[in-house]
Symmetry: C2
Subunit: 272 residues, 2 copies
Amino acid sequence: MTVSAALQQSADEAGLLPSHQARLDYRTGKGWSTAGVANGFVQGNLAIIPERYAGAFHRFCQLNPKPCPIIGMSDPGNPHIPALGADLDIRTDVPRYRVWRDGEMVEEPTDLLAHWRDDLVTFVLGCSFSFEEALMADGLPIRHIEQGCRVPMYRTNIACTPSGQFAGPMVVSMRPFKPAQAIRAVQITTRFPAVHGAPVHLGLPEQIGIADINTPDYGDPVPVGTDEIPVFWACGVTPQAVIAAAKLPFAITHAPGLMLITDLRNKDLAVL
Amino acid sequence: MTVSAALQQSADEAGLLPSHQARLDYRTGKGWSTAGVANGFVQGNLAIIPERYAGAFHRFCQLNPKPCPIIGMSDPGNPHIPALGADLDIRTDVPRYRVWRDGEMVEEPTDLLAHWRDDLVTFVLGCSFSFEEALMADGLPIRHIEQGCRVPMYRTNIACTPSGQFAGPMVVSMRPFKPAQAIRAVQITTRFPAVHGAPVHLGLPEQIGIADINTPDYGDPVPVGTDEIPVFWACGVTPQAVIAAAKLPFAITHAPGLMLITDLRNKDLAVL
């Protein structure tokens, strides 16, 4: 039995949502990657910012909703976000965090109990896992999942709209599709504006400043067939890169691939 | 004052819908091309088939809804289709018709009074004029309209699903767009399944059997910029080509660009 299946089974036995059970497991040090855990439930990117900078970051997200779709946020100093999960404690419920000081990642703790401050504001941003589930449910193949690697991501020449010290290029993720599949993927992801929504670009990677599709700036390269076109979505790495570039004295994010699992269901994010 | 503006003015004076007034004008021999006439109202492709073949053609349309979206049809021998227009008479209300015998176009009359038969069934199929209006309303440029020519159309290697003697390749129309515009065009036209709906292909024309984008099989070539990709929609020329290839003893279509103007509004065809 896989870890994922075991978590699911224990959740069923306890009568808890699989998402809630997963958070309890991470809280007590069990489990690791959130890939494939609590399928059907929304996973989120995490950004925890001191209140002094939170207003400008909040505006940055509002101004750049495709890379930074807010699905939940906390009051200052409050580690709970009831709208995203019963009993959710942002200090303990993510498998691994990254602590940033002056733009440098200085630590990767498994909880924030030693780092928590009364001025911290938590932002939870939508993640492509949700729309990938919808694409796969429609029968569309996701290349990096087939290949067992990370999605390729690229810095583009598309400038985000700046807010205060938060500024920088949009980072995009890429999934190759045959043309008819690409059209279907536009339709499906359009239904999910809370998790990056429709693609921002397709074909012609050089038009958005991608010189070599085989050399992603983040993640792993995947092959693009001669009968396929690359399709690009705004990516949740954008806010992480922007936070690092802003060189805040202090900030926290999740570690890549180790997300916050919420009690929201992916299907409930569909606008139609 | 243009003919179109004059028609609009006289319609307003008579208290008729502009679409109804346009049909009355065509009925009495006034006016010509339907391009730009009764803006906002649905124009349709026309196929008039003897009842003996109408069942198979109806199934062909049902099996191939993207090139052949039915927006109205008549009872056998009945020249009226009340759902498409008060007072509509299919024998007189289209500016020009094409009469086909054994797959050959033999006449282009301006009415069907001498050709009408009690066994004729009329099919009215959606037309790209409706979705082009929606694209332009969103600010997307339509190249062939900018260039003042006909949309380029191509026979593809996409086989329609056959029904009886009706069979053949899908014909597509092409409009070039920048990638972000192409994504928007997918979204907008998805809202209009009754007028061909979303594109069937984009980029990589050779994948659907188009050897030279600059040599359309119908219509006129238009330039495709190096920063653009060609976007392909199923086209209402498909059923006309299929009807000709079926070599029916007798059939009638509209003459290209001289459509049936209905009282339906384009906006009412939007499914969302």
